[in-house]
């Protein structure tokens, strides 16, 4: 991601129309991809990308480096996403608590989970699992969803995410962990459920 933004910034600074056009397409692609993950619809992602680029053209002040441009882009895109027409698609604002997220968790019992046998190498993100992941992300309350997408998908570091979100690094880490556990639980049900069904079929 950083290398893409670095290249885009270099292209913008070159002043050549072809290179500025290429930078525009790179930045549009980044913001559109972010919008797709956050908003879940191409229409909202397109709105987000266009509004962000227009703001970039209106407000562009020399960005000292790719990091500054990246944080600015995500800040604006995040705001646009939150204002999107289909914002009702966002899960209702709520707090995710670790007690509620712990497997079999009532706060006092140890995690009781079946072993998760699938390894990163085994997961190919086939269509069905990918769809499940997308659904789980969209089911996350928005402030958790944004942190997870920025950190684990857009690959910003904790400090950058905190800056984009306007929150402390401590809060960023807390939200990230809860969002990850929420997704893990959503996918665990899917993987285990699929396996149970299979075993029943074969049994």
């Amino acid at each position: 991601m950083n290398s893409q933004v670095e290249q885009a910034l270099a292209d913008l600074k070159s002043g050549k129309p072809e290179e500025v056009g290429r930078a525009l397409e790179t930045l549009q692609g980044i913001v559109f991809g972010f919008g797709m993950k956050v908003c879940g619809t191409p229409e909202d992602a397109e709105d987000t990308a266009q509004e962000t680029l227009i703001r970039l053209a209106r407000e562009l002040k020399g960005f000292p480096n790719a990091r500054a441009l990246s944080v600015w882009l995500y800040k604006v895109a995040k705001t646009q996403c939150l204002m999107s027409r289909r914002k009702s698609k966002f899960a209702p604002a709520q707090m995710l608590t670790l007690d509620a997220l712990m497997p079999e968790g009532r706060g006092t019992s140890a995690p009781q989970i079946k072993s998760w046998e699938i390894t990163p190498e085994e997961i190919t993100l086939e269509k069905e699992l990918r769809s499940k992941l997308e659904d789980a992300i969209l089911a996350l309350p928005k402030h958790y969803r944004l942190v997870l997408i920025l950190r684990d998908m857009e690959q910003l570091d904790t400090r950058e995410v905190a800056e984009v979100m306007g929150i402390s690094e401590k809060t960023t880490k807390m939200r990230l962990h809860r969002a990850r556990v929420f997704l893990r639980n959503a996918l665990a049900g899917y993987v285990q459920g699929s396996r149970c069904s299979k075993e029943e079929h074969h049994g």
């Binding site: 229409e43 019992s109 993100l125």
Partner: protein, 108 residues
């Protein structure tokens, strides 16, 4: 295996995966993991989830957005050139004025 220990470890797992735990906490967590299979299994499942998110993120970045309408693209390119930016910074008329978002071009 102490329940309270599991609960404390549970809160530290993401920082552990990110290599962001202070040394003392990391050692405590690793000692706990040596004797706690459920926590090991949970850690691995969390690692798998994070890896899946990263792969999904990388795939999605490759999704091509719809092309910008030509007129809008031309205005943006003109506005984003360094001389336009310098003009804006020095307080001249904003070149971005007049830019309006287009109607959707998505076909989906």
């Amino acid at each position: 295996m102490a329940d309270r220990g599991c609960k404390r470890i549970f809160a530290l797992l993401s920082d552990y995966l990110d290599g962001a735990l202070p040394v003392g906490d990391r050692r405590e967590l690793e000692r706990h993991l040596e004797g706690c299979k459920p926590c090991i299994a949970f850690l691995e499942s969390l690692r798998t989830t994070v890896e899946a998110c990263r792969r999904y993120g990388q795939n999605e970045i490759r999704t091509r957005p719809p092309q910008l309408p030509p007129e809008m693209r031309a205005r943006l390119v003109a506005s984003l050139r360094p001389e336009s930016i310098r003009a804006k910074v020095s307080g001249r008329r904003k070149s971005g004025q007049g830019l309006r978002k287009s109607k959707h071009t998505s076909t989906k």
